[in-house]
């Protein structure tokens, strides 16, 4: 089982944390710091496995990680998982992110945190692996995006239109309409 998935950058700033076992919030942050401390001092050409830190359960758990440019991807797993299998899984996850975001970078993870979570959910569910086929995962994500867009077309745009109108100082609008100038009422809306 995968107990936790942590992504943080070279300075230890968390970019995604996902625990599949309950830890109190405070402890979660300590685990991130401890894990960063353990992982960041390792050279790039040493092996990708090490025993878990004391907070997450010590030697019963392994930290399996990969370092990509500015980001560390760390999976904390128990002994029922294959080490090399998890390494491949990290690769699958990262390649999927890359496909979904086109040349994914740290900024994508920051500004689209929710999306990263959704992608991860298609790979890992409740600590177990749901799907390893990248094309299948990407297909699911595309489906979500289509649904989002279709909703965006029908409802999100009006919602934003309304808020934009609010910002424009609402009282003026009715006044204009009251004047009864029919030419402006429908076309002007399409700008929003």
């Amino acid at each position: 089982m995968i107990n936790a998935i942590l992504i943080f950058n070279n300075h230890g700033k968390p970019r995604l944390i996902r625990f599949y076992q309950y830890f109190a919030e405070e402890l979660q942050q300590q685990i991130i710091r401890e894990t960063f401390h353990l992982v960041s001092k390792r050279d790039d050409n040493v092996c990708n496995f090490l025993e878990g830190g004391s907070l997450i359960g010590g030697s019963d758990y392994k930290l399996i990680y990969r370092h990509y440019a500015t980001l560390y991807f760390v999976f904390c797993v128990d002994s029922s998982e294959s080490e090399l299998g998890i390494l491949d899984l990290i690769q699958v996850f990262v390649e999927t992110l890359d496909k979904c975001f086109e040349n994914v970078c740290e900024l994508d993870l920051i500004f689209h945190m929710d999306k990263v979570h959704y992608i991860l959910q298609e790979v890992v569910m409740g600590g177990m692996v749901l799907e390893t086929n990248m094309n299948e995962i990407v297909a699911q994500v595309e489906l979500q995006t289509r649904m989002e867009k279709s909703e965006g077309g029908l409802s999100a745009a009006p919602a934003r239109a309304v808020s934009a109108v609010k910002n424009m100082n609402l009282p003026e609008m009715p006044r204009n309409i009251n004047i009864g100038d029919l030419n402006i009422k429908v076309p002007s809306l399409s700008h929003f």
Binding site: R18, E25, G85, F111, M113, V141, E151
Partner: protein, 954 residues
């Protein structure tokens, strides 16, 4: 086109994140966050109902703030509201917030469950998946109660979409793990197992996790999965790299699923069905063969995936442990990996070999790689890998390579990472002890260990070396010499001082003959370390000093001087001060004999499981205990040397008599005697010594020839066992010595330490439980009277009983000691004779030849003399005889008897009522191997009793 649309995200969220990123300091960041939290809170609380978009935006912001490490204590309700939105994106963010931030005992679960219920019955696969994810991520018991019945239905229903099936399988797994009692498989079992045959590989991937977990818990119900798993595996392994299309990962067909299938098979023994087994062996061979083929890609992902399968296959082979052919191939394959340039593979090869080393088929094959592993320990740059190498060396160690492995581990220790030193030290200590053929090597190893890594040597380790030295007389001299040399290093570790202090205190005499290590040199060496040591070590050294006074009377003045100095006798530490005061008094008041008794060599420690092994087990998690358990198995072959858990220092304090202990009366008072003994000697440390209460009862039973403890057993208690047949023999062992093991069987060991002075004595009885099981209702009865001992003796523990003895008048029957306890259910009942004999109350008397013969003549009445002529039972070595006669308690008089071959002794038996002078003459006849023993004393019973006792000794 990117699958994720970047442009139309939430603007407010992006602005907020940018603000945070632009913050120059931590304080600015916190300020910005607090401002945002206040803003969101007011929005949530405000009168205006928020639209879905705003809620979604704010919930997203909260998630971001949470990621930065701030507690989020509101917003849960808004998230729950989002769940019931019919817009996908709003629902999605609501579920995400709940998965990340709601724990399983939240009060909101009921509301969440409602939303989930709606989504599960919506028949919209996307919504169903969201709901199933949420259950799998929260996994609370309440959720299990609500959905444990529903989810198996979704999982096996014919019309469920594949993606929903996948989610349902993992969701069910999570519920089963959290609340196994609520997930009733029964009717679903066979349909779940058949998911292994599903067309869709994604479904199989998810289902196999579920099946593996269920099989490990209920192997019998799920055993049909074995043949299905084998056939699935076989299809994957034999497929061309393109057959599985999307599930081919860098030219390797379905690596993840293959690994999981091999894991599932590890829940079961080898298949019984010949055809299935044949097919499986074929698969395993194919996997091993593929490892030798040239790679289809140079990418690391290709070899990774291939090797992931290979390692799982090897694990399965090791798990079966029944195919020697495959085991050897596995071992060879791992051997290749040991030298691979990929660090990951070296790491995993070392790890797998560790388990392989415990198989009888492959232990020898593993041993052939010893040089490579040692090399790995020396040259690997990665501490994780070095640690695996150390583990493997430990696992592959046996008698044939122990010396090499231990010396390599020792030399590695000098540069080892701090994080693994303590564990390494324990391992070295265990191997050294377990495979020690000669004990000087063992002592060298442990002392080296202390020298190299003294800080990491735990108490167990140095206790152990002392226990072993004390238990094995062949190594004592060597140990004394070696610690003496080790202590001469200018900077030596405190643990070395402890070991040195203890061993020189016990066995310093063995090297004192050499002028370079004369008593005074030894003392000065130890004392030069004193001021650098901590309090416990100083206390130990003080005890060593008093032992020195006993061993080497010539050091007495020097040591007394040290003890008397202000820094000792007025030390601010109570323990040190007490020791200094007591030892100073002891050395100035007690006669050499008393001193010799109090400070006699430590008796051997009871043989027990090594406390170090226990420590290692405790230190490592269950994964490593597997290895140690194996060792337990091997140990039954008798390779381990015993020793107690008791630290030497605690044993020492027992001999110091400063611990209050339950004391008990031993000897009753004879009513005829003047009862002056009611008042115990004032200032005694002991609770009560000479109680009068015994006077009424037992006195009636005392025989006329004036003796105290000849109470018939029936008077004390009906159900006491008769004395053991060997009771007299055991008693005789103690005529000439005061300390030792009185009795021992499989369960119980009784040790004795005793000391006598005039007509008084004190005896410590140590009842040791040799088993790991508690003794219940433990009681001891003397045929006089005792205070009760602790009624429970824990497994491996020892209880102590102190007896205070006064000799009222002379006697010939030894007191009887009855021990009763429950071991398991059975009542044990043992009666022994307590080794209290009349000679214990001897005071030696020095006299000249004239005096001796004058008295000899005075005691010439026939009843005053007792004589025996008997055959020698033991060798007639002069030194041994002398030692025995001294042990008897009399003074051995030199140059008295005209025949130098003869021995004469004189002493006074001290009883409360009278003093009985005793003269002894022992005439050995070496040619005939006979002795003539003559005793004369002023009391006939004494002469006779002593004569009987002594005739058994020579």
């Amino acid at each position: 086109m990117p699958a994720v649309s970047k442009g139309d995200g939430m603007r407010g969220l992006a602005v907020f994140i940018s603000d945070i990123r632009n913050c120059k300091s931590k304080e600015a960041e916190i300020k910005r966050i607090n401002k945002e939290l206040a803003n969101i809170r007011s929005k949530f609380k405000g009168d205006k109902a928020l639209d879905g978009y705003s809620k979604k935006k704010y919930v997203c912001k909260l998630l971001f703030i949470f990621l930065l490490g701030h507690d989020i204590d509101f917003g849960h309700m808004e998230a729950v509201n989002l769940l019931s939105s019919n817009k996908y994106t709003e629902k999605q963010i609501g579920y995400l917030f709940i998965s990340v931030l709601v724990n399983s005992n939240s009060e909101l679960i009921r509301l969440i469950n409602n939303a989930i219920k709606n989504d599960l019955s919506s028949r919209n696969p996307t919504f169903m998946c969201l709901a199933l994810h949420c259950i799998a991520n929260v996994g609370s018991r309440e959720m299990a109660e609500a959905f444990a019945g529903e989810i198996p239905r979704i999982l096996v229903a014919g019309d469920t979409m594949d993606s929903v099936k996948q989610s349902a399988a993992l969701c069910l797994l999570r519920l089963y793990k959290a609340s196994p009692d609520l997930v009733l498989m029964g009717e679903w079992t066979s349909r779940v197992v058949h998911l292994l045959n599903d067309q869709h590989m994604g479904v199989v991937t998810a289902a196999i996790s579920l099946i593996t977990c269920l099989s490990s818990k209920n192997p019998d119900e799920f055993k049909t999965c074995v043949s299905l798993a084998v056939s699935r595996l076989s299809r994957i392994v034999s497929s061309a790299s393109t057959d599985l299309q999307d599930y081919t990962y860098y030219f390797v067909p379905a690596p993840w699923l293959s690994c999981k299938l091999l894991r599932l098979l590890q829940c079961y023994p080898p298949p019984e069905d010949g055809a299935v087994k044949g097919r499986l062996v074929e698969c395993l061979e194919t996997i091993l063969n593929k490892a030798q083929e040239p790679p289809k890609s140079k990418k690391v992902q290709h070899s990774n995936a291939k090797n992931a399968i290979l390692f799982e296959a090897i694990s399965l082979i090791i798990h079966y442990d029944s195919e020697p052919n495959l085991l050897v191939r596995a071992c060879n394959q791992l051997g290749q990996f040991l030298q691979h340039r990929e660090t990951n593979l070296r790491y995993l090869a070392l790890e797998s070999m560790c388990t392989l080393a415990s198989s009888e088929f492959s232990h020898e094959a593993v041993k052939t790689h010893i040089e490579t592993v040692i090399n790995a320990l020396k040259t690997e740059r990665d501490v994780s890998v070095r640690q695996r190498a150390a583990d493997l060396l430990y696992a592959m160690c046996d008698r044939s390579n122990a010396k090499q492995i231990v010396s390599e581990m020792l030399s590695y220790l000098e540069t080892a990472d701090y994080s693994i030193r303590e564990e390494m030290v324990l391992k070295v200590a265990i191997l050294a002890e377990k495979y020690a053929v000669d004990y000087s090597w063992y002592v060298d190893t442990i002392l080296n260990l202390i020298r190299i890594a003294g800080d990491y040597v735990s108490e167990e380790v140095w206790y152990r070396v002392i226990q072993i030295v004390i238990n094995r007389d062949d190594v004592q001299g060597y140990a004394a010499k070696t610690v003496f040399e080790a202590l001469q290093a200018p900077a030596c570790h405190e643990n070395m001082v402890k070991v040195g202090g203890y061993i020189l205190g016990e066995f310093g005499n063995l090297i004192a003959g050499d002028p370079r290590s004369s008593p005074l040199v030894q003392f000065n060496l130890l004392h030069s370390k004193f001021h650098l040591c901590s309090v416990p070590t100083r206390a130990l050294l003080l005890s060593a000093y008093i032992k020195f006074i006993n061993l080497f009377p010539e050091t007495k003045a020097t040591i007394q001087e040290v003890l008397r100095s202000d820094s000792q006798i007025r030390n601010s530490d109570v323990e040190l001060q007490q020791r200094a005061v007591e030892y100073l008094k002891l050395s100035s008041i007690a006669s050499t004999d008393v001193l010799a008794t109090v400070l006699e060599e430590m008796p051997p420690f009871p043989e027990r499981e090594s406390s170090i092994l226990a420590k290692l087990k405790k230190k490592k998690g269950p994964g490593v205990v597997v290895v140690s358990d194996l060792e337990d198995g091997k140990r039954e072959g008798g390779e381990l040397n015993g020793g107690g858990d008791r630290g030497p220092d605690s044993a020492m304090s027992a001999s110091n008599a400063s611990t209050p202990s339950p004391s008990a009366d031993l000897l009753g008072l004879r009513s005829a005697a003047p009862v002056g003994a009611a008042a115990p000697s004032a200032g005694s440390l002991l609770v009560d010594v000479f109680s009068e209460s015994g006077a009424g009862g037992p006195a009636a039973a005392v025989n006329d020839d004036g003796f105290l403890s000849s109470v018939p057993p029936s008077a004390a208690s009906e159900d006491l066992a008769p004395p053991l047949p060997e009771a007299d023999e055991l008693l005789n062992k103690f005529v000439c010595k005061n300390n030792g093991v009185l009795f021992e069987n499989q369960l119980l060991q009784i040790g004795i330490k005793s000391e006598y002075r005039q007509n008084l004595g004190r005896m410590y009885l140590f009842y040791g439980n040799k088993t790991s099981v508690q003794f219940a209702s433990f009681s001891t009865t003397l045929n006089v009277q005792t205070k009760p001992v602790e009624p429970l003796v824990e497994g491996g523990a020892q209880v102590q009983q102190v007896l205070n003895i006064e000799c009222i008048t002379d006697f010939s029957e030894a007191p009887q000691l009855n021990i009763k306890f429950r071991y398991g259910g059975a009542l044990q009942n043992i009666t022994l004779k307590l080794p209290v004999t009349i000679n214990k109350f001897f005071q030696p008397t020095e006299m000249t030849a004239t005096d001796f013969f004058q008295r000899w003549k005075q005691l010439s009445q026939t009843q005053q003399e007792a004589q025996k002529i008997f055959k020698a039972n033991h060798g007639m070595d002069t030194e041994v005889l002398k030692a025995k006669l001294l042990g008897l308690g009399t003074a051995l008089l030199e140059n008295v008897d005209p025949n130098p071959e003869n021995y004469v002794c004189a002493g006074v038996v001290q009883t409360k009522s009278q003093q009985v002078g005793v003269l002894l003459r022992l005439e050995p006849n070496a040619q005939a191997q006979m002795y003539r023993l003559t005793l004369r004393s002023s009391k006939d019973t004494v002469s006779q009793r002593l004569c009987d006792l002594l005739a058994e000794q020579f």
